[in-house]
């Protein structure tokens, strides 16, 4: 009844399930202000979409959610365009490298396990850090002590690098090398994982570049639009694994979910929100780890030459 045929993936999926998946991830991204790609891509894989299709299509979906997110931030003047462009410059290089890496690993038959392990590592580390941090914050509020304020930026070795640039909106005068390198790493991970990379670039901007928190989300979203757009086009051109019909269904679900999530998120406390997100992130990491550790039902797999996992 609600089955729809995906022309590139060449499988039939239930529209309602995929809309629900898009909406669920949209709710989370609306609640937590993250892109949600790191959840969408694994969830697509769990529901039977081939990994290569999931990664490319996930990236396409994030373009839409980051456009509407970035527009909201732009109206509040929360985007450092100059910093964003430097991050994009590094990110494009990283994205190219990532897509070629996945293509190479696909040919060798190791793309699936590689993607899973990178996911497990990043989701595991970030999930654990968030969990510990938010648990501490909750315990601190319980015991009545005021929450700690972060100390203002101190000078580190990063500030001694050449190629200095002035970033007015961030009130920073630093070398362009760190943002370029961060951009490249995020671009590489984003293209391998089919995510926007917000969960890496946001902590990097706060802790490494010491940007003011209010411009971090906006700048990250602005940067994500371009990186995911580049990744979408690269996957479409080089791997032919982008299914635009699936992407469209996910985009619609994501738009609806994003609105629900934004309203729900405002009613919850910050640390409760963060611990909830940490638990979800850890659950996805454990589920992915299970997939590569537990003896599979079938040791054999078949894929067209030069493709597959």
């Amino acid at each position: 009844m609600f089955q729809v045929y995906l022309p590139v993936a060449e499988i039939s999926v239930n529209v309602l399930v995929m809309l629900g998946l898009g909406a669920a991830v949209g709710i989370l991204s609306g609640m937590f202000g993250v892109g949600g790609g790191f959840l969408l891509t694994p969830l697509l894989m769990f529901s039977g979409i081939p990994p290569a299709i999931a990664v490319a299509t996930g990236a396409n979906q994030i373009v839409a959610s980051s456009v509407s997110g970035a527009l909201v931030q732009w109206r509040r003047d929360n985007i450092d365009f100059r910093m964003g462009l430097v991050l994009i410059a590094g990110g494009v290089v990283g994205a190219f490298a990532g897509v070629f890496l996945v293509k190479l690993l696909s040919r060798l038959g190791h793309a699936g396990i590689f993607i899973s392990l990178v996911y497990v590592t990043f989701l595991g580390v970030i999930g654990s850090l968030m969990f510990v941090e938010s648990l501490r914050a909750i315990l601190r509020t319980r015991s009545g002590k005021p929450s700690q304020k972060r100390k203002p930026g101190e000078h580190t070795w990063i500030h001694g690098l050449p190629l200095k640039m002035r970033f007015h909106r961030s009130r920073l005068y630093i070398s362009a090398i760190p943002p370029l390198v961060i951009g490249a790493i995020v671009g590489l991970l984003a293209s391998v994982l089919g995510v926007g990379g917000g969960f890496i670039v946001v902590p990097a901007m706060i802790y490494l570049l010491r940007m003011p928190t209010n411009v971090v989300i906006g700048t990250s979203l602005f940067q994500i639009i371009f990186i995911t757009a580049v990744i979408t086009i690269l996957y479409a051109t080089l791997n032919q694994t982008l299914d635009v019909v699936l992407a469209f269904i996910l985009v619609i679900g994501g738009v609806i979910g994003g609105q629900i999530g934004a309203n729900t998120g405002q009613k919850m406390k910050g640390e409760h929100l963060r611990i909830l997100l940490a638990i979800i992130v850890l659950a996805v990491a454990i589920r992915l780890l299970f997939g590569v550790v537990v003896t599979p039902d079938d040791l054999y797999s078949a894929a067209p030459l030069g493709m597959g996992v």
């Binding site: 045929y5 038959g109 190791h110 479409a236 080089l238 982008l242 635009v244 019909v245 550790v293 030459l305």
Partner: protein
């Protein structure tokens, strides 16, 4: 009893049917067959399709009732493609793809329908020569070469394809309606590859191949699905750009509709 005797006879004279045909001896019986659908279009509501192969045996001489019956085997093969089969191995606690084997032309779809169990219809050698059944389906060259006939990689490929409904075998898939009319039906599942399919219908009696008939059908995407597919594979850059444009437009629309500032 009659079948048993036929099998015994056929086994002692392997390939006698094929040889007789090749030698130009006038075949005693002719077979005619056709397919219910010559062109299959895949659209957004496609969930698989059932096709019917039917035909008749034209007699050059009237058979007496105590003569052994005709047997029909139908083989439907989808477009060929090289396939890599990999076996996972445990490396440092993780299951990683290890040894692999490439088969140069694996049919995207393969179905065999018969009026009786294959081995009762024709001797092993004939089945092997004609590529009938999972044991003998032609998968092209193997790289590295298969070590034994019962190679685990080959068996796994067949098993995987079977579990996706892409390889089918049916002992009683062909039914005779009277002495000369027969029909068989097969379902092409939702995941069938597009391209040209060939159907072969073999007529046997007493283990001998008497005649065969071939036809083909085309599976293709139609309408919107066709446009998307053609764009994705023939103009991938434009396709990628359009996908990004779609996402940007939707994101912009969502922001305009739901904006609160």
């Amino acid at each position: 009893m009659q079948y048993g005797l036929a099998l015994l006879l056929a086994a002692s004279l392997p390939l006698s049917g094929v040889v007789a045909l090749a030698a130009g001896a006038p075949p005693s019986e002719q077979i005619q067959s056709d397919i219910s659908t010559r062109e299959i279009s895949i659209q957004s509501n496609f969930t698989g399709i059932n096709i019917v192969l039917f035909g008749s045996v034209d007699f050059s001489r009237a058979p007496s009732l105590d003569e052994s019956p005709h047997d029909v085997i139908m083989v439907i093969r989808g477009p060929n493609e090289p396939i890599v089969v990999r076996r996972k191995e445990r490396v440092a606690g993780l299951w990683v793809n290890g040894p692999s084997r490439t088969f140069s032309s694996v049919p995207g779809f393969y179905a065999v329908l018969a009026s009786r169990p294959f081995r009762a219809v024709a001797p092993e050698q004939t089945l092997k020569d004609l590529g009938i059944g999972f044991a003998y389906v032609d998968l092209g060259k193997s790289e590295p070469p298969e070590s034994t006939a019962n190679d685990a990689f080959r068996a796994s490929l067949v098993r995987l394809r079977k579990s996706h409904d892409l390889f089918k075998e049916s002992d009683d898939g062909v039914t005779f309606l009277g002495r000369s009319l027969f029909r068989g039906s097969v379902t092409l599942p939702v995941n069938v590859p597009i391209g040209r399919y060939t159907t072969q219908v073999f007529l046997f009696r007493d283990g001998k191949l008497l005649n065969q008939s071939q036809s083909s059908l085309q599976v293709q995407k139609a309408g919107f699905e066709r446009v998307v597919y053609m764009l994705a594979f023939n103009h991938p850059f434009i396709y990628g750009l359009l996908a990004v444009l779609m996402a940007v437009t939707t994101g912009l629309l969502a922001w305009t509709i739901f904006r609160r500032d």
